[in-house]
């Protein structure tokens, strides 16, 4: 593991964190899923893939933001809504990831 690689990883993660601050949690997870799906079917070097997936996508999306959103629903007592929203949100994210996957397959 060389220093340059680690520095690049941290810089990419900083960039992702700063952008995430300005955006909505749903928007962030949709973009993150799309990019993840786009990158996994590309044939690029393993180290670059690691930087894009581990550094950018993982720092860009945040699970704790989603849990915080679920907690707001629990506070209001909407338990059925919580279950529905979470399932719908996961399915939407999966579809968007698949869409990114297909798009990047088409481009090669």
């Amino acid at each position: 593991m060389n220093k340059f690689y680690f520095l690049l990883l941290i810089l990419v993660a900083y960039f992702a964190t700063i952008i995430r601050f300005y955006l909505n949690i749903f928007f962030v997870s949709f973009i993150g899923s799309f990019l993840y799906g786009f990158v996994i079917s590309r044939k690029i070097k393993n180290a670059n893939k690691e930087i894009l997936l581990f550094g950018f996508c993982s720092c860009f999306t945040s699970f704790s933001g989603v849990v915080n959103f679920l907690y707001q629903l629990i506070l209001k007592g909407y338990y059925l809504k919580l279950f529905l929203y979470f399932n719908l949100f996961i399915i939407l994210n999966l579809i968007i990831m698949y869409f990114g996957f297909l798009l990047s397959r088409k481009m090669t």
Binding site: I18, Y36, L53, C57, T61, S62
Partner: protein, 123 residues
């Protein structure tokens, strides 16, 4: 956003990134797909979030450091979605269901555990 707020966010995200890195590479490939590193990371971050919310912090800088910086970089939603996607691709539908239920139940359980334990010991 001024320069100090950026410094708070970035220092939190550095700690989160390095912790996640350590968790991923210290366990290595010993973990199965039903118990991989993104599960550990997400469940731990739910626990931390529960503890953090129970303290009801008003300090804006601490929120930026811990919630936006640390927890945002430590937890990862896209790896969780990728695990589900991967299981669909391999057509392991039972594992998909198990993994999904595992993450949902464990994260909400540990969130509430952290929340109520902190509330009990705070007063």
């Amino acid at each position: 956003m001024d320069i100090f707020e950026i410094i708070y966010i970035l220092s939190g995200s550095t700690i989160g990134l390095i912790l996640r890195w350590l968790i991923k590479y210290s366990f290595g490939k010993k973990l199965e797909y039903l118990f991989d590193h993104s599960l550990i990371v997400n469940v731990l971050s739910s626990l931390f979030l529960g503890i953090f919310i129970a303290f009801s912090v008003n300090n804006q800088n601490l929120i930026l450091f811990f919630y936006v910086g640390f927890l945002g970089c430590f937890s990862t939603f896209s790896s969780f979605i990728y695990q589900l996607f991967n299981l669909i691709q391999k057509r392991k539908y039972l594992s998909l269901f198990l993994y999904y239920t595992e993450v949902l139940v464990l994260s909400l359980l540990l969130f509430n555990l952290g929340y109520f334990i902190t509330l009990t010991f705070k007063n």
